[in-house]
Symmetry: D4
Subunit: 254 residues, 8 copies
């Protein structure tokens, strides 16, 4: 709650520009817009200082269209995650400037330019099959104004491959490591650097990978310090966390 706004409100009350009961009512009314099936929260971008994000899975395309139209009125940029083709189709009639990334299942609606943050975010994958999740992370970070470098398919089956990219590791402010199957790569990267590593397990694998559980447990139990883990296949969450860490570092590039 904003103290200035509160101060003005109480001032108005004191000046009899507003009654006590109205003041109470105002204190209760927060600026939601009600679509029936979803409460659109226009102040979210102020409070969380970010553009809007809509998670599409489990929502009807028509519901998503309604939410997006309500959000778009504010002129904000909007990111839609886990968005299938049918979502993209439903949004076309809105006339909003869409970009669709089918492999990452992301839709970006860019209505204004972000300023670009200084630090680099490096996104690494163990294998080629981890690309969709990695792209979800990388594109999310780019959407939020970060410069992103990609280093794909450097899995531990040949750890020497990774060692040749020490420069990229050194240059990054935050590193996102995406890996399925044994989920070993974040531990190896974490042992080589002295910066935040965000570990993203993927559901790539079969048998005793149990849909990414094996990779998740590997990362949670990592012997390397400095790792934070996100949910299986949660590329968006990793990109988002990387971005707010990068933002904390302000304008300085180490």
């Amino acid at each position: 709650m904003d103290q200035n706004y509160l101060r003005e409100l109480l001032n108005s009350l004191k000046k009899d520009e507003i009654t006590i009961e109205d003041t109470i009512d105002i204190l209760k009314k927060l600026p939601f817009e009600d679509l029936g099936y979803a409460r659109v929260d226009h102040h979210r971008s102020l409070r969380k200082s970010q553009s809007e994000v809509v998670y599409c899975e489990g929502k009807e395309p028509e519901q998503i269209k309604g939410i997006v139209e309500a959000l778009a009125r504010s002129g904000e940029n909007i990111l839609l995650t886990r968005a299938g083709k049918e979502v993209c189709a439903a949004l076309e009639s809105t006339g909003l400037p869409l970009t669709y990334y089918p492999s990452a299942r992301l839709i970006m609606i860019k209505q204004r330019e972000n300023s670009v943050l200084c630090g680099n975010i490096l996104v690494i994958t163990a294998g080629t099959a981890d690309l969709p999740v990695a792209e979800e992370a990388a594109l999310t970070a780019e959407f939020m104004g970060n410069r992103v470098e990609r280093l794909y398919d450097v899995g531990v089956a040949g750890v020497h491959r990774l060692l040749t990219y020490q420069d990229m590791l050194d240059k990054a402010m935050v590193i996102v490591v995406v890996a399925g199957m044994d989920g070993v790569l974040p531990s190896v990267v974490g042992g080589l650097v002295d910066k935040p590593v965000i570990a993203v397990p993927t559901s790539v694998g079969y048998g005793a990978s149990f849909g990414g559980l094996a990779a998740l447990l590997t990362m949670l139990n990592s012997c390397a310090s400095g790792l934070g883990v996100v949910n299986i296949d949660n590329g968006f969450g990793a990109g988002y966390l990387a971005s707010i860490i990068n933002k904390q570092s302000g304008s300085t590039v180490k």
Copy 2:
């Protein structure tokens, strides 16, 4: 691998100050000290830019003493985690400057002063029983040169308690949230701030908490963005990650 060292080495080779075979040998010999049961790695603090950390669980007190004595020769600070009383007793004869935190099971050996980082780290707990893990996180961060604030026992059973501390949330550079049982607190904190939140599940609880699994899953599935999760009861890992995020932000306090 340090390029300057490499350059000097190759220069010496060129100047015939060293033979090819000796050069190969030197390239292979890395500066380990071998205690038989543990390889003490003196260059770790250079490479990872941190003081040394010794994880005590599963090691014999005499083994730990040997490791600590080897490390201490470098003049580094040393942090011992998961250290019981018997470890403390075994170290006493070393004459090193020990401080023991029994509830957090930490031992600090401070041989030189760290410079202090600017940003605050805020450590929050849901309940009183989460204190040992929270203290492990807070003390680790302090050991690594961070200023730490503590906000304990503000669990969601009374979410209004937390809302009265918005100022502390605003001031912090990174927030560590420690919670057992339902593990709900990090989600609530994550919904209120726009900065990195490190979520630490604890094994506090009974029945279907399954030793912290319930809290862990809650945190991994959080609807709030910007969370990174560490292992159950891993206060050290959370403090360490918070510290390197804080360090990335250099000297600026937002």
Copy 3:
């Protein structure tokens, strides 16, 4: 077993209006109707004081039709849960007054009016994707004669959203809270009210949500008191339990 009925029966026996063997037979014959594949229990609505409910999953449409026709003869209202379109189609030829709710997968057959209970039931969801389960709960409660209010998409990612609806929380006799992913919302609601909260985990989510397990465990381990939990996606069970709690409170509205 009804003592009055027993008393009359024994009286008849004493008056030689019935033989001992017939008495024994009557004591054994309970009023089932046998369709071969399902025993239709006409007295259930007396015993449990409710209308009839048919769980459709795993039953053939023709079986369901037979069961419904047998039940309908009594003039009772009938609720069909987990009913797909093919069930709806199979029932059309019965000429019974059907209403189909496809998202909630419910079919209501209303042959007589329920009296309406006084207390309100409030159904809350964390997100838009939880709507089908929430509607199953809300419609079930309405079918059983309750007034239902809905408060959807007030998830904890913005907990302040919920706080603006304190009035609705205060007015309700029982609250049903439906949430997937981290399942955090029931804990937050439970911390704000002093009335029964029925927590319904949903299978909304991915990765380590493990089909709703994460949300279920969160709710079972809630730090807030006064929660009763039902099975994952069991909107019907939540609506039913809310209804019989509401019914216990008789005609008084607090």
Copy 4:
């Protein structure tokens, strides 16, 4: 937040009895008492309309003593759960009126009389080994002003045992059913009554009971409607939920 209090506060502001800045400060200061390790929340009993409850597991006896002394100043009744002997010993010097129930691990501190609620709560166990959890539920409900009946050791191995107690089932407003091993009893009770049943799985059992998981799953999947489930061994939660359901029914006994 209490509207009356808010109204008075704003009135004082209007009457210049208080400044704007002080009003803002008051709005921010909530009535916590800070013990360093635990925030004691004196308004909780108003907000949740209950006496205070202290969960003891994982807290140091001295911490608990401090919390209890702070709470006791308000004259409230206090219930301590999961309290071992050492807690009881630590509290003796406070001079407060303690009653200790070692099997249920409860301590009651009664400083004033509750009014007694009209409806009965019936607590049923499957076996003798479930008694500690059942007593935790029953004593909690009694502490909160409910009349409690107990029906112990009527497990399904002889389901006819239960049928002879139909009268007790009929008389109760809410029924708590406590069962370990196969956890079958709540399903059977739920099939016989038309009132809220709170199912409490216990960790009684061995092998594939997996610490109460088997009983928990049985109850969550119950074919009988009207069940709400609480955590394994959570007698307190069951007694608490039963009590607030009973309270909703006001003064009428059906």
Copy 5:
């Protein structure tokens, strides 16, 4: 190994009708027929005293046809389990006397009459959705020469339904109880009878039934004695076990 056969063989050896090396070879050659992908074991029906059973899941229809034709040459009856329509189609050209039960996914090939065993096997289900598994059990037992009675849809949601069928319970030699969801019925039946009960969990259910795991655990932890449990949905195994128990009881009917 049959001692008589061994005796004759050794006699032949002694009488020089066979050489030592040939004797060794005969001792090694067991009467398999090799189809490349499956070893058809003609002596199985002698050794296990049963007709042949072919488990179809995961086998190609053409493979199954080959196996059946090889087995059929012996004139034995053959039972095919988990058989889809495509298996039935593949077998039609064999000209063997097939009967297909699509719901139970069984195909019977009866080339000769079994003698009928005296004791009854009673197959009970909790719900209508458990019928396919129950029929798999019942038909298997009938195929093996047992008289089978069926008592379907007597689940515990109305336990009184079951009590009216005490006669059927009393008459049976073995009882097979099939139940999904909470899996409570075998415990209730087991508490009412003094004879072997074979408990069959089914995958009927949703959410925390975890594909039948909940029902399986309930049955394994049953408080009632005298239960043997088979795999989830394993109607065949239950019918087979019931049959060999019934066979042990010889010609007497109790």
Copy 6:
């Protein structure tokens, strides 16, 4: 409920030897004896045709003593399972004829002789460490009047060991197979015989045996037909089930 008793009762009613209200009362009063903490069911041995069994785990020694004394008045034999030394000590003052088997944790109280059943029960173990569970099974079966043979330590690590005991396998009416670790033995035995095999997983093992879960799953998934599985370490349940199967076979020995 016994029809003869009912018939006599109704006769008495008709003859005015008893009033209607008394008849109703008698129908309701079942012959329990109430000890407060446990309902002792004297008719159980009639209904289930067995001696009494008391499961001791989780019961106080004094409670057990009370239950045993109440049961003993009927002159029945009593079996106490999961009985530690302290139970044995508590029972000594009763003067009842106790035999204690510490490894199997059984206490037998024999007040009268059972008739001996004809068929043999064979109890097999994979290893020496499975003996306590096997003895619990064997002694339970002997207590219930069965002749028991034991074949211990014939695990599959040397499957040829088992083949040399084909005679014992052939002679038995029912076979109980007890195995921990991989739980392989019941599958092998089940492949060699054509009679009921009761599989008992034990918690013997370490690591991925997960307290017997591995052995349990092996047995439930057995490729051999004719297996019924009981809970982990449930020797009593296996002995009981074996006994009632043996009893079904009446007086004939095959």
Copy 7:
């Protein structure tokens, strides 16, 4: 890193044929070919002394084609695993010599002849449904130059079937045992031989096989010594491990 190459490089440096900075650059540049989505590692076959293997699951057919074309330039043999028809189709236009094994989902590209290793590898399956995994193992081993014998469908339901093949067991250098459901066969084989056994659990089964978990746990807990276990359905891994064990034995056949 190859010492000879290093020696030559340093020699060149000494002879001024190369500068220090170029030497440093060469030490850093490893011979990868970068396709954007996958780093093709031409030196892998030297380092690991094997042909190339491409795991196809989760990769786009066009990506796979690109990888294969890059690898094929070296003249190496290439094995593609988990390859569906669409992969085969995508590779056709490359003109490379493909052989496709649809059941095993393998594609072999043979550009040169391997020398054949002396020792035999024996691949055994429990059932016919395990064939695809077994063929993946067998074909992988053949691709790597091993002679492979197959012994299929000798599951433990008839353990005597296996005993007749002692000769094949004796002749093999390594044995791969493939089994689903109870996963018992590797334990039995392991008890009969004194050579390395590679156990491969398959996902064949239903219910409590939990996608191969049951078989996996059986094998990990095997009482027989000398077993190494690979992932569920990992026929490739088993064939690969068998091959490198066989290769270690050089040219001698025991």
Copy 8:
């Protein structure tokens, strides 16, 4: 079964030196020695070509003593695993030449010298806490006649540590890699070598390591080929498997 022995036996039969019935009896009597609780199998060392191994967990010290004395009569070497101090004490009175390794919980009884195998076995650990399991593996391999090298505490937190030991990796015939927590090390080693790697997960860790499950799953899902996995903490099994692989390679050292 030994064909020569069989041949002689049948020859004796032919020469009338033995009767048919005696021949049958001999064929049935295998050379077991029966101690009541354990069948001692003197021919095991012939059949499996190894010395004897006794697994001590769950066996009484007196039972173990009996087994050892029976085995020792053959003059074989004996290895006792999972042996606590009390086992050592019980064996002292036997006068056999014992060596006790308390950390590895092994007892060796060496009655004759093994010939030494040529190839090296290398045992690697990730951390110091993995030593007991690693020593169990190393000592087992030495007991079986292998030369063993140890490389301890080279965990991935500093993967460069491992790279400096490429020589040791190159020299070994088989490598055993022991790791707890994240279990990453075997994947890294497997990526560096082209020889059999036996991966041993340990229970070292806490929280989401779930007693070694995390490490186990990591290893089973390893992206590196050529790994065989054994049970958690199964150092013995790893040493045994390494030894028989080494033995297969005969006398040649590559």
